[in-house]
Amino acid sequence: MTPENLLNIAILITLLPLLSFLINIFFGKKLGKVSSYIGTTIMGIDLILAVTVFVSKVFNTWSEYLVQNADKSLTYLASDAMVQLKYNWFSFGRLNVQVGIGIDNLAAIMLVVVTLISFLVHLFSTEYMAGDKRFPRFYAYLGIFTFSMLGIVIANNFLFMYSFWELVGLSSYLLIGFWYEKDSASNAAKKAFLTNRIGDLGFFSGIMILFFTYGTFMYDEIFGKMATGLIPFDSGTMLTVAGILVFMGAVGKSAQFPLHVWLPDAMEGPTPVSALIHAATMVAAGVYLVAKVFPMLTADALLVVAYTGAITAFIAATIALTQNDFKKVLAYSTVSQLGYMIMSIGVGSYMTGFFHLLTHAWFKAALFLGSGSVIHQMHHSAHHFHDHHTDPQDIRNMGGLRKTMPWTYATFLFATMAISGVPLTSGFLSKDGILAGTMAFGNLTGHWLIPIIGFSAAAMTAFYMFRLTIVSFHGDFKTKIAEHTSENKFVIVFPLVLLVVLSLWFWYSPNPFDANAGWFAHKLAAPKTAVPANLQWDFLLTEEQKTAYAEKTSKAAEAKANIKEALPATAEGTELHKEAVAPEANQGAKEAAATESKAVGELGHQENDLAKASEHKAEEVKTEAHTTETAAVKEEHKTGEAAVAAHGATTHEAGNAHAEAGTHGGGHYVNKFAEEMHHFHVPAMILSLIIAGCGIGFSFLMYQFKLFNPDALANSLRPLYNLSYNKWYFDEIYQATIIAFTVGFGKVLAIFDNKVIDGIVNLTGWFTKLVGHITAIFDNVVIDGLVNLLAKVTSLFGAMIRKVQTGRVQSYVAFVIIAIIMLVYFLK
């Protein structure tokens, strides 16, 4: 497949759901039930296309490729990293705004994730939403959501990303508030929308900082320019700030602490929507974003990302322990797992973070669709008994569903095992990778809190997920409603089975205990960081980057020193010196330093300008700088560390790093972090197995065998229980602080409005009225007087002349004759 074809198919994939949206929104009423068939068929086609793109992008090699049309407005680029298209959208002065789409391995995998889950949800909803009065509208919304999500995936620039980001927010709003007759649903929709806006504000500011600095929205161009050392406002802090601001978008969309409060409320939407948007795809957009901008995150920004993820994972897991609403448990579990992914990318374990996104998408979609299956049946059953008081989503009303809904139970149980990290599931592979990553991070930086949180969240995840399964599916029927349920139709069961099959290990790695053995780890290597080496963690730099940095700093320092020496020297002296050094310069070293020396030469040139040396002298010194350069490189190659040590204080640190890396020198590891992760792979695996086992075992003891009484435990830990049950009082805290402050501030503004602004307006009004009165008097007296006078004069003349009009013909004739006589007399 040529790059053009690949990109055209990607565009087609994105636009097809939009077609579904347009058909269903405009002809929905006429189509009725048919709209679901149209939507599902379109998504089926979409899925097939997405798989084509995925296979051809990920499993083919893409040699360097560059095609431009005549006026260079359209560019096709391809490399192993990314196949992309750039289009000059508009030019504005010197600014040339480009947009385009790009498919890298990340995007290719996401395309399949989004289309497959969207397809299954379309299928699932044909049954789940049947009978809803706005059925076609639902399919229209699903269509626009899928369109915008795919837009995020294929964007290769921040501009598209941001546009589709907002579109996704809109469709999420529409779908959460789908049953807007319910107050809770419309409130949840508003909450989700507004909370997301806070994050998006940061995202937008971040984009603006980058655009201001680099003059482009393209990822590859921004990272490319950043790698050459150009950073916002020449300040590492600003680069960190830009990274954190962009990350804020992810905080909003992926429901990270402190903006996680909207996601559990979003469960007011229809359950298939929860599966599609609020578990598998849209909330993953944040993680996807962080993965995309990973190269530009500095060490400090990464630390913020890691801690945000860790805190989110922990808080959400503790809340999920005590919730009784089926979907709320899953919602908090989603928040917790998203925290995991973010944390993973934050510690630098890029691949495992995205891997968890993928595996989590399958099993969490399975869990949500399973919950949909249960709730659908509970709802029907409650309807059967004309019971409208029992909450069909409350797990305390379920129990024993294992007997009536075997397929749902089996798939749900497997998905629960996957999320808990039981071996042979995909969840085990990804979670184990994340935990190994956090341990490696802890060891390298001393931030051991992150792995500790990671493991404790893993234990809690295993516990609450099995609690959910046991309480709702095992034991006896707790209500007659639960007893009356039965297994759902094929269209509901099929997606569950398919998603669970995808949660098996062998799709990703032949070895169920090591993800690194599979294609995924190889196809999704972490991108090289573009951040200047002094702003990045040592262990995330590759060997070449370190060497380059060490050379750059040492060369810069040396060149500076040489120039200072050379400046006072005469032309002759410089010549001699040059001759002496030149033959020693090794040809190979020259080549190696060629690129480097250019930069340093520039630097030397600047130095000259500063010193205001004569033109001739400057030229000489420049040549000199070049030559010293080559000599220095050679020297360093010979003596290694000794030479580095001699470079002085500025280069000391980098030199050390270089030396350290040299001694470890594993060769096949990209950087130190990858090596460290490899070391921690086995310990992390053993620990996570023990911890997940503990969580599962505890859950079984408590709810299956009833060895402990959960209520007694809750009573003995009342404050902690209440904290968890009330979701850490986040909503209340926000209500009391931010919302109260906003409302209070609004009130102050209202007073200002009422008193000051209204006062000014009223004063203006009063003044205008006064002026009006004066004008009115002038009008009445002067203007009207003039007009009346004119009228009176006219009517006076009229009255005089009308006397002539007697109506008698003979008098007229007499007048005529008199007039003629007078005329003749006077004109004579």
Binding site: G807, R808, Q810
Partner: protein, 102 residues
Amino acid sequence: MSIGLNHYLILSAILFSLGIFAVISRKNAIMVLMGLELVLNSANINFIAFAKFGGMNIDGHIAAIFVIILAAAEAAIALAIVLNIYQNYKHVNVDEIDKLKE
């Protein structure tokens, strides 16, 4: 004393004055019309006189014939109007027909 242009003109002037006088002073519309005929005929005398004594030659005669034709046409229309007035007012007194004033 031979009869010259002046005699004709004086005759014509007298006739014209009488005509005008009739037009202005008579109550009866028929009389007013007859006054008008006098005025026209005085003009005819002038045309003929100038044809004979002035340089108008045949032009004067033709103009006189036109005036006669015009007088006939005028009489026809005027009498029709007078008839209509009579049907409306049951009289033809010009000084009482002043509705146009209002």
